[in-house]
Symmetry: C2
Subunit: 204 residues, 2 copies
DNA sequence: GTCTATAAGATGATAGAC
DNA sequence: GTCTATCATCTTATAGAC
C-alpha cells in the first residue's frame, strides 16, 4: 500500500458501498434460490458491475457466503436484542418474532436464513457452515431465554419446560413458513400464528 | 441406498431396471442436495453408466425430476392408505406418520420430499412444480382427513377445528425435522414428538 | 476498484456408432 | 440401450491493463 493511499482522508462516502451492495443482492438471491442456486453472474447483473469485480471483494463464493451469514448473525443479535424483564416487553418480543416470520411467509418467495441454510446444509462449504452453526446457536439461545423469562413473568403457560416450549415454538414457526410457502397460501401462516398464541400465551 | 433396492431379487439387470435405478439414485441425491445440487454426472457414477444413457431414459432433467415426484406421490397414496375408521387404526396411522419423520430427522442427511422441494421451489422448473403441487395437496388432504376422523372417534382433542389441527401438526412436524437437522440433534425430534402427542392426542 | 480476457472445469443436452 | 464424442453454455476463479 502506497504512502499516498495511507495518507488520504476518507474521500468519497462510497467507501465499502459496493461490498455492501454485493452482500445485499447476494443475500436476497441466497434466500430465494439457495446457495447452489445463485452465481456471481447473477449478482454482477443486479449490482451493475462485472463478475471479476466481485472476486475483488470476495475472492471465493464461500467468502461471500460466510460474510452474509456473519452479518445476519450480528443483525440477529442487534434487532432481537436482550430478552426483556417485564411482561409487556416479553409479550412485545414474542409478537415481533411472529410478525417477522409472518412477513417472510406471506410476502415474496424468500425463506428465512435459518430455514434456507438448513435446507442447503449438504451443499454448504465448511466455511459457510461454521458461522451458520453460530447463527442457529444464537437464535435457539435467544428463544430459550425468551420462554424462560416469559414463564417467570406469567406471559407463557407453565405446562412444559421453557426449553421444550422454545424448541417446539421455533420448530412450529419454521414449519409454518415452509408449509405456507409450499401451499402458496398467505393466510395459512396467520392461522398457525393464532393457534400458537392460544397454545403458548397464558392470556392469548 | 434404500432397503428395497438392496433387497431386490433379480441379480441380473433387466429391462426397465436401469430406469428405476436412475430414479432411486436421483431421488436420494435430490433429497440430500436439492434440485440444483445434483447432476447427471453424479447419477451416472452412482449407477455405473454414462451420462448420455440417462438422457435416453429421461431426455431432460425436469423429466427425471417430474418422474421422481410423481412416483413419490403414488407411494404416498399407497403407503399412507385411506384413513381408518376405528380409534386404533387412526392412532396407529398417527404414530406411523410421526415415526416416518422421526426416521428422516434422526438418521442421515436427507429431507423429506415436501420439505426439500418446498425449499427448492424457486429453482424448480414448472414441469416439476406441477406434480409437486399435487403431492402437497394429497399430503395435506390426508392429514386433514386423519384429524377429522380422529376427532370424531375421540383420538384427538376437540379444542380446535380438525383442519386447523392438521395444518398445525403438519407444520410442526415439518419444522421439527428442519430444526433437528440444522442442530444436528437426533434427540430433538423425539422431544418435539412427545410434545405433539401431549398436545394433540386426547389420551397421550 | 473495476475492467477485459481467459482459463479450467462442470452442466444439461444431442448425434450417431454399435 | 449404452456407448463415445461433441456441443454450447455456465460455473468459479485468475491475470493483468487501466
Amino acid at each position: 500500500m502506497s504512502i499516498e493511499t495511507l495518507r488520504r482522508d476518507p474521500p468519497a462516502p462510497e467507501e465499502g458501498d459496493t461490498r455492501q451492495r454485493i452482500m445485499d443482492v447476494a443475500e436476497q438471491l441466497l434466500l430465494q434460490r439457495g446457495y447452489a442456486g445463485f452465481s456471481y453472474q447473477d449478482i454482477a447483473e443486479a449490482v451493475g458491475i462485472r463478475k471479476a469485480s466481485i472476486h475483488h471483494h470476495f475472492p471465493a463464493k464461500e467468502d461471500l457466503g460466510a460474510a452474509i451469514v456473519r452479518r445476519a448473525r450480528a443483525r440477529l443479535l442487534d434487532t432481537r436484542g436482550p430478552v426483556g424483564d417485564t411482561p409487556a416487553q416479553i409479550q412485545h418480543q414474542f409478537d415481533r418474532y411472529l410478525r417477522f416470520f409472518e412477513k417472510i411467509a406471506t410476502q415474496g418467495d424468500k425463506l428465512c436464513l435459518g430455514g434456507r441454510l438448513s435446507a442447503d446444509l449438504a451443499v454448504l462449504p465448511e466455511a459457510v457452515r461454521d458461522p451458520f452453526r453460530d447463527f442457529t446457536t444464537d437464535h435457539g439461545g435467544w428463544l430459550a431465554k425468551l420462554f424462560e423469562a416469559g414463564q417467570k413473568h406469567g406471559v407463557f403457560r407453565r405446562d412444559a419446560e421453557p426449553a421444550d416450549q422454545a424448541l417446539m415454538f421455533g420448530a412450529a414457526v419454521q414449519g409454518a413458513v415452509q408449509v405456507a410457502r409450499s401451499r402458496g397460501d398467505a393466510e395459512f401462516f396467520r392461522r398457525i400464528a393464532r393457534q400458537l398464541r392460544q397454545q403458548f400465551l397464558a392470556t392469548p
